[in-house]
């Protein structure tokens, strides 16, 4: 079939089915192929760039090799995915040295490229401190981060012992983990407030471990029963203290016996101030008694009760005082507080009764809060060990409780008034009904034809 080629216009002896010459056919085919290849390349590049992270596109042989290993050799590579250092653009070589662009082990871990490997236990603080104590460097990542952690660490019990050669103590990685480090604000971090106690208890709750140091191992168990733990774990109050709030975190050490009041006073400022102005402070320090913890315990701190005051069975005062001025003071203070407690109780009880009887007493009930406040004040003021101060706080409370009690009494007298009023009006009403009944009888007893 000879004809004109649609493409080039020349006459040919034979044409393809689509009426173009061989050259035109080839040209069409090549164009198609080039376009197809371009598309393929474009797709594969974009596809690959999606599944392969940017940083590893800059080759990272560390991760590549170690992620294929099992057990503790492979964990670092897997854990590192969630690490905050990774999120900041750092990688294995930034801490361990070496060259991640080298495929073979020798090249990657060459000392020429600064490979340091796994640091020895006693070198860990400085290992981390290489960056974390460098203010200029840290400023580039997070200007508000402190840079004195290592310095603090060396002052801690852990740091002192480490320097002396004990490698069983905690170092940075014991608390902060290694390779999968999260920021302290991250709820999954081992040093988030919700997890600190567990982290410390890993060692400090282990009987075997603590035996060699002659430290008790029941702090964590005691803490879990405390009112602070309840606030933290049950009420999710993140301002509640955990281990580091009293013991420090990097400079962790138990506060000295003479500084306990200052530590507790971070939150319980009033009690602390009162205590330190009281005669107890000097006495406790002289006798080497831990200031707040003597009465309130250190780890298993429970809500204080009024029974701790005074001279009863559960009193803490009687452990030192017996028939002396302190004893009398204890009696006086607890007496006043009990007084107010009883007044409040009486007032609450009568108001509750009035409410059950149907009277509206929400206002007096609210005003009773003032008495409650006075009670709280009084209890706080016991730390001054001065009965006169306690009295000053309690007095307005007693007046307020008395007022509320009177309101309860008034409610009942109003109730009585209503019931009396009811009785009187019922008499009238029933009498009237009876009279109407008589009237009916009278009307209907008269023969018909009577008009009233």
């Amino acid at each position: 079939m000879s004809s004109f080629c649609d493409q080039c216009g020349q006459i040919f002896a034979s044409l393809s089915k689509s009426r173009v010459c061989r050259r035109a056919t080839l040209r069409r085919f090549l164009t198609l192929a080039v376009v197809a290849c371009a598309i393929l390349i474009f797709v594969s590049i974009s596809f690959l760039s999606k599944i392969v992270p940017v940083s590893a596109q800059q080759k990272n042989s560390c991760i590549e090799c170690h992620s294929q290993l099992e057990g503790r050799l492979g964990d670092p590579a897997r854990l590192f995915e969630n690490d905050i250092h990774k999120a900041r653009g750092l990688s294995c070589n930034d801490c361990h040295g070496g060259d991640p662009t080298q495929d073979d082990k020798k090249g990657a871990k060459s000392a020429l490229h600064g490979y340091t490997g796994k640091p020895a236990k006693n070198l860990i603080p400085n290992f981390c401190g290489k960056c974390h104590s460098d203010a200029a460097l840290m400023k580039k990542f997070n200007p508000s981060l402190r840079v004195d952690q290592v310095q603090e660490y060396w002052t801690s019990v852990h740091g002192t012992k480490l320097r002396a050669g004990d490698t069983n103590v905690a170092t940075c990685v014991s608390c902060h983990d290694v390779h999968g480090i999260r920021a302290p604000g991250d709820p999954m971090s081992s040093v988030s407030p919700l997890n600190v106690a567990e982290t410390c208890a890993k060692c400090h709750g282990n009987a075997e471990y603590m035996k060699s140091y002659d430290i008790p191992h029941d702090q964590y168990d005691k803490y879990k029963l405390s009112v602070h733990a309840k606030a933290l774990y049950e009420k999710h109050d993140l301002s509640a203290p955990t281990c580091n709030d009293c013991h420090g975190n990097h400079g962790a050490a138990p506060p000295g016996l003479a500084s306990v009041a200052n530590v507790c006073g971070q939150c319980h400022a009033r009690q602390s101030t009162l205590f330190q102005a009281s005669p107890h402070k000097a006495a406790f320090d002289k006798m080497q008694i831990g200031e707040c913890i003597r009465c309130h315990s250190n780890h298993g701190i429970v809500a204080p009760t009024d029974q701790m005051l005074g001279v009863g069975a559960e009193s803490v005062c009687t452990s030192c005082h017996n028939n002396d001025k302190g004893y009398d003071g204890a009696v006086q203070m607890s007496g006043k507080i009990e007084n107010l407690q009883t007044s409040i109780h009486r007032a609450t009880e009568i108001l509750d009764r009035a409410e059950r009887a149907g009277m509206e007493v929400s206002r007096p009930k609210f005003e009773l809060r003032e008495a409650f406040d006075a009670l709280t004040q009084g209890r706080v003021l016991t730390h001054s060990a001065a009965p006169s101060e306690v009295e000053k706080a309690i007095e307005p409370g007693i007046a307020s409780a008395a007022k509320s009690y009177k309101a309860g009494e008034d409610a009942f007298s109003e109730l009585t008034f209503r019931r009396q009023g009811l009785a009187v009006s019922l008499v009238f009403i029933l009498f009237l009904a009876f009279l109407v009944y008589l009237k009916i009888r009278q009307i209907e007893s008269e023969p018909p034809g009577i008009e009233s």
């Binding site: 019922l426 009904a433 009237k439 009916i440």
Partner: protein, 354 residues
């Protein structure tokens, strides 16, 4: 003499002598079941108590979500005898509905709706629905927790009616949720819309009763019964009942004051065991018992539609139970009525006990 000239003066202007003559002539038939005749008047009396106490409460009540609860609290604590007016209003509402049920069912069982009294029955049933509406709208007005959730549940149920349900719900609630807008709306219903409608229907109802006189059970028709004059005989008897009702209300208000509860808080969870007022309890309990699905329809929808149908049948009873009709049909309707009463009573009791 003075009264006579006054009457003459009024008659020349208002034609009252004719009315006085009608009043003098009005008679009540006396038979075994005459006692039921008192309940219409009792319902009317209690309704009057509601209007009076309601107007008094209006002097102090504030219908907004921020102020309603406090204003009721103010009434029962600060206003002189506020506790009395408020408790009487709440108790009388319940007593009125009870009297209304007795009146309605006694009329039903005595077939007093037979011709010519069909319209009286229809207006009466509509008044019944209106009174239920009064109860439902009034219950929300103190804006306490119980009322808030009762309203939530109650209006939720209207939403399940197919097609018209959702728009109805939005109309009732003044929005998608129960809010201050609902309170304002319910207040409007309670003090304006429903009273106006009730007045019109009540007027027609009472007028028709005067026109047709008291209906008499069939077995007595044709026989001559003893009659009692309405004024003063029957009226004085009515009066005794009303005086005693006042006594009962006073006693209830003083001995069992109506609770105020806690202010409604839309964000707090519903208290356990929410129940509507007793006159809704039987419907509420029935809906609880219906299975989630019957065939392919939601159990709840079916329940609501069934009650709707029931209401419709109830309105149309005079046209379904034709008179004179057959004894069989009359018996059927009597049995039907007994079943309805039994159902309501049993379901209400179950609702109370569980």
């Amino acid at each position: 003499m003075k009264t006579e000239s006054l009457m003459l003066w009024l008659d020349q202007r208002l034609g009252i002598n004719a009315l006085a003559e009608l009043a003098r002539k009005k008679e009540i038939p006396r038979h075994r079941h005459s006692v039921w005749y008192y309940f219409g008047g009792m319902t009317l009396f209690l309704f009057t108590v509601q209007v009076a106490t309601g107007i008094l409460l209006l002097l102090y009540y504030r219908p907004s979500a921020e102020t309603a609860f406090e204003s009721v609290q103010f009434i029962i604590t600060e206003v002189q005898f506020g506790w009395l007016i408020r408790s009487v209003h709440s108790w009388s509402a319940n007593l009125m509905i009870l009297a209304l049920f007795i009146h309605m069912f006694s009329v039903y069982f005595m077939s007093a709706y037979k011709p010519p009294r069909e319209i009286t029955w229809v207006t009466g049933v509509l008044l019944f629905f209106i009174c239920i509406g009064f109860g439902f709208s009034g219950y929300l007005l103190p804006w306490n927790k119980l009322a808030y959730f009762a309203t939530k549940v109650g209006t939720e149920i209207t939403g399940v009616i197919p097609i018209v349900g959702k728009p109805m719900l939005r109309f009732l609630r003044g929005g998608d949720e129960v809010t201050g807008a609902t309170l304002t709306r319910f207040f409007g219903f309670h003090v304006a819309v429903l009273p106006a409608t009730a007045t019109v229907l009540l007027g027609i109802h009472l007028l028709l009763v005067q026109m047709h006189g008291m209906s008499v059970p069939e077995k007595y028709s044709g026989t001559s019964l003893k009659k009692m004059k309405f004024f003063p005989n029957f009226f004085l008897r009515d009066l005794i009942g009303w005086i005693l009702a006042i006594g009962v209300l006073a006693a209830l208000a003083a001995m069992f004051p109506w609770e105020l509860g806690e202010k409604a808080d839309p964000f707090s969870p519903a208290p356990a065991g929410i129940k509507p007022e007793w006159y809704f309890l039987f419907m509420f309990q029935t809906l609880k018992y219906l299975p989630a699905k019957i065939l392919f329809i939601d159990g709840e929808i079916l329940g609501v539609l069934a009650f709707g149908l029931g209401g419709l049948v109830w309105v149309l009873v005079p046209f379904l139970n034709r008179y004179p009709g057959t004894p069989k049909r009359r018996k059927f309707f009597t049995v039907f009525g007994i079943l309805v009463v039994a159902f309501i009573v049993v379901m209400t009791l179950i609702g109370f006990v569980t």
